[in-house]
Amino acid sequence: MPIDKTAYFIGFINQLEKESGMQMVSFGHAGDGNVHLCVVRGNRDDETWEKELVVMNSIKNALDPLHILNDKKSYITGEQNEEFI
């Protein structure tokens, strides 16, 4: 983040965390605007977590519908990619 927008960004994330109930941790290097945003599993059970991974995979699918862009390196879940877990 540009350093003059970092505080705004973290405020936005904190608000989003409250609204969504999804645990989000902002930390990093304040001096250079490097926010290591972690959206973490927390205490979610397997079923809930699996559903959320499906949502993350849908983002990958939207940007890379053919799965030709360095595939199988992130958002790995489901039967299709089981061998790489």
Partner: protein, 137 residues
């Protein structure tokens, strides 16, 4: 995979390797996993990248990008074959905005070159991993 199509996009045959691709381009720094590829292309511009990705999309060809290849987690291993896009020659500095202390660079620039550029201007680029030969990519 039609190498001539790539040559039509990247009009410099020296930047296209289709035979005997060296092992270091098929793996990461650790070299534990090795992939395969039909072509290794050293891209130099957004237009070349766009043209190659359009060609890959039309023909369902996997693409694996790489910078200096200093990663340790297999991210540059071309597990599905296809095209390797090497960004190491796309290493320019596009803009330095001192109002927001933001610099815009091309993905293949080495950290040490970026650090030298800003330090010559009395500035400081703080992220400082041990590996100075790595890229921003």
């Amino acid at each position: 995979m039609d190498i001539n199509k790539l040559k039509g996009i990247v009009k410099d045959e020296k930047r296209i390797v289709s035979a005997d691709i060296p092992d270091r381009y098929l793996s990461d720094t650790l070299g534990r996993l090795k992939g395969t590829a039909s072509a290794l292309v050293f891209v130099k511009s957004t237009e070349e990248v766009s043209g190659i990705l359009a060609y890959a999309h039309r023909n369902n060809i996997p693409v694996t990008p790489r910078g200096a290849g200093t990663n340790l987690v297999g991210s540059t291993v071309p597990v599905d074959g296809g095209i390797i896009l090497d960004f190491s020659q796309m290493n320019g500095i596009l803009e330095l905005d001192t109002d927001t202390m933001t610099i815009t660079v091309e993905p293949g620039i080495l950290l040490k070159d970026l650090q030298r550029f800003v330090e010559e201007r009395g500035l400081f680029y703080p992220p400082d991993p041990g590996e100075k030969e790595s890229t921003i990519l």
